[in-house]
């Protein structure tokens, strides 16, 4: 086993991929904690789907495949998407989940139309865009890892700098607004960071699965602690672990893509946490509710005994 790991790490290519996925998992877990707490876990999924037309337009305008460019395109598309969602919910009787679904599918559909146009065009077959959609972590090179590293750094610094503000905005936006915090801007900032994590994540795990990188480690971390700072850190660690596991397993087994394995690793971590965490885990809670019930029953039983003794006394007294 140890030999295996050494063998893996000795291949420079694998090292880069491993580092990239580690960083990606870590930063996604961190920003994912906030979206998780704000009950916007599926926003990652929506943004990932909505990003496609932005990326396509970026490609169509510049004819180059550059991650930075894609990021920008995805960002613009993501912002348009969020505006679309709030617009629909505000000006019609359509509720938020349906609005997200509409924006998600329509943007993605438009993106697919653009994608197929690109593919049928001259420069299309070189675009590698559809590989982008499914995540080809294996094709990550040094420059990509630098970008990941940059992404991670940006996310970390932002979360550290505005930790208190993000915390308040996630917990009680009304109160934050009352305090004078620029809630709108902070929410946009969180959104921005989420888009960054999403676009970076699409590269590694693909459009459909990127939501998992944001949600699952955060949900797993939540089971272990009630402290936000600890949760954020733990989510990052879980995310990094998942990324590492995904990379290692996919290098070991032929034909195994990195993305899905990463997601599965994160899910296993979540399942374990949900079951075994002390206090918030399922087993712990079952145990406690059983204890509560039996304590209650014991009290009831004791009271009943006292009562029937009392009643017996009364009857004897009345006779």
């Amino acid at each position: 086993m140890w030999n295996w790991i050494v063998a893996i790490l000795s291949d420079p290519n694998t090292r880069w991929i491993l580092l990239g996925c580690l960083l990606l998992g870590f930063s996604s877990g961190i920003i994912g904690s906030f979206t998780f707490l704000r009950r916007q876990s599926l926003m990652g999924d929506t943004l990932a789907h909505a990003a496609l037309p932005g990326i396509c337009i970026a490609f169509m305008l510049t004819e180059t495949k550059s991650v930075g460019l894609f990021l920008f395109g995805a960002l613009v598309a993501g912002i348009v998407a969020t505006f679309g969602i709030s617009w629909i919910t505000r000006y019609s009787r359509i509720k938020q989940d349906a609005a997200m679904g509409i924006v998600l599918t329509v943007f993605f559909g438009i993106g697919v139309v653009m994608l197929t146009r690109i593919q049928h065009g001259a420069s299309g077959s070189q675009s590698g865009l559809d590989k982008y959609l499914f995540g080809q972590a294996a094709s990550m090179v040094m420059t990509d890892v630098y970008v990941m590293g940059g992404v991670c750094l940006v996310l970390l610094i932002a979360c550290l700098a505005w930790f208190k503000e993000f915390k308040l905005v996630s917990f009680d936006p009304g109160f934050a607004r009352g305090m004078g915090l620029p809630v709108g801007m902070l929410e946009q900032l969180i959104l921005l960071l989420t888009v960054i994590a999403v676009v970076a994540g699409i590269q590694a795990v693909g459009v459909v699965l990127v939501a998992a990188l944001l949600v699952t480690p955060a949900a797993a971390a939540r089971c272990w602690t009630d402290s936000l700072s600890l949760m954020v850190l733990l989510a990052g660690v879980f995310g990094a672990l998942s990324g590492a596991t995904g990379t290692i397993f996919s290098t070991l087994v032929p034909n195994l893509p990195t993305g899905p394995v990463t997601v599965l690793a994160a899910t296993v971590l979540f399942a374990g946490s949900a079951l075994l965490a002390p206090r918030r885990g399922l087993l712990a809670r079952r145990l406690r509710s059983l204890q509560a019930k039996s304590a209650y029953l014991r009290e009831e039983h004791a009271t009943l005994q006292t009562l029937s003794a009392q009643r017996a006394q009364q009857e004897r007294g009345e006779l």
């Binding site: 009787r93 509720k95 809670r285 406690r288 509710s289 204890q291 509560a292 019930k293 209650y296 029953l297 009831e300 009271t303 009943l304 009562l307 029937s308």
Partner: protein, 273 residues
């Protein structure tokens, strides 16, 4: 556990102690040792009472006292940790046809594409079985009930266009159409205008005249004496229960609501501030 029995003479058996461990009766609603817990926090514990027939009963208590939970537990909408509930001496499932339920207004999506008459007809779905569709009979019945609550002109109005009070009256019409003998109403007076409030109370009086029993979760202490014959005071447990004039007194109210309560301008014989 609790104090000595306070109101032995009243029709409604108060206080857990008195009824604890006894068998449920064939009263419209008979509850023994009911306990409900969410996760591990007990919301209701040791609740036992019998409801007299043909009366208007108010369920009172502070927020989180378990009033809505009590109704939901009786109707099987939340699981019980412990206890027995009998409706006219039998289980809820067997007596479903004899019960009417008016849930809180927020529990429903008022943007649903339907009109008032349709909502009232939905109250008959339980009587139609699996495959029968609502027909003319149901429609006429529903229209009649809407008229009874004063909403006859709004039969085909889209429900999102109705005011809060009108929505509440539609809910009441829906309860009426269920043609029950025992009604449960969860905060029917919450957030309604004066006209609707009058309409609701006159409807309740009508039901009482017909010999029906109505349990109402209520929040407005000022109107309790006027509206209800009996009250149940809840605060996680049954603090007291019985005829309003006996139970609705400062001592029990303070025990229910904690803190001092000012009773202004009410009966002068039984305790005051």
């Amino acid at each position: 556990m609790s104090d000595a029995i306070l109101f032995e003479k009243s029709q409604l058996q108060p206080n857990a102690n008195h009824l604890k461990g006894t068998q449920p009766t064939s009263a419209p609603l008979s509850v023994r040792d009911l306990a409900v817990a969410y996760h591990k926090k007990p919301v209701l514990s040791g609740v036992s009472f019998d409801i007299p027939e043909g009366q208007l009963i108010g369920i009172l208590g502070p927020n989180g006292a378990g009033k809505s939970t009590l109704i939901k537990a009786v109707l099987g909408l939340v699981p019980k940790m412990h206890g027995e509930v009998k409706i006219f001496g039998q289980s809820y499932r067997e007596q479903r046809r004899r019960i009417g339920y008016v849930p809180q207004r927020e529990s429903v999506d008022w943007d649903f594409p339907t009109h008032a008459l349709d909502v009232v007809m939905m109250g008959r779905y339980g009587h139609l079985g699996w495959f029968r569709r609502p027909g003319k009979k149901e429609r006429d019945l529903a229209a009649h009930c809407l008229e009874q609550v004063g909403m006859g002109d709004y039969m085909y109005r889209q429900i999102s266009q109705l005011s809060g009070g009108q929505q509440q009256r539609v809910f009441l019409a829906r309860a009426l159409v269920q043609d029950a003998e025992l009604y449960f109403m969860d905060e029917p007076f919450a957030g309604v205008d004066a006209t609707t409030e009058k309409a609701i109370i006159s409807l309740l009086e009508q039901l009482k005249k017909q010999g029906k029993t109505v349990l109402v979760v209520h929040h407005d202490l000022a109107t309790v004496e006027e509206y209800f014959d009996h009250v149940l005071l809840l605060n996680g447990r049954l603090v007291a229960g019985g005829p309003t004039n006996e139970v609705f007194v400062p001592d029990t109210l303070q025990e229910t609501y904690g803190g001092r309560i000012a009773m202004i301008g009410s009966r002068s014989e039984k305790g005051q501030v």
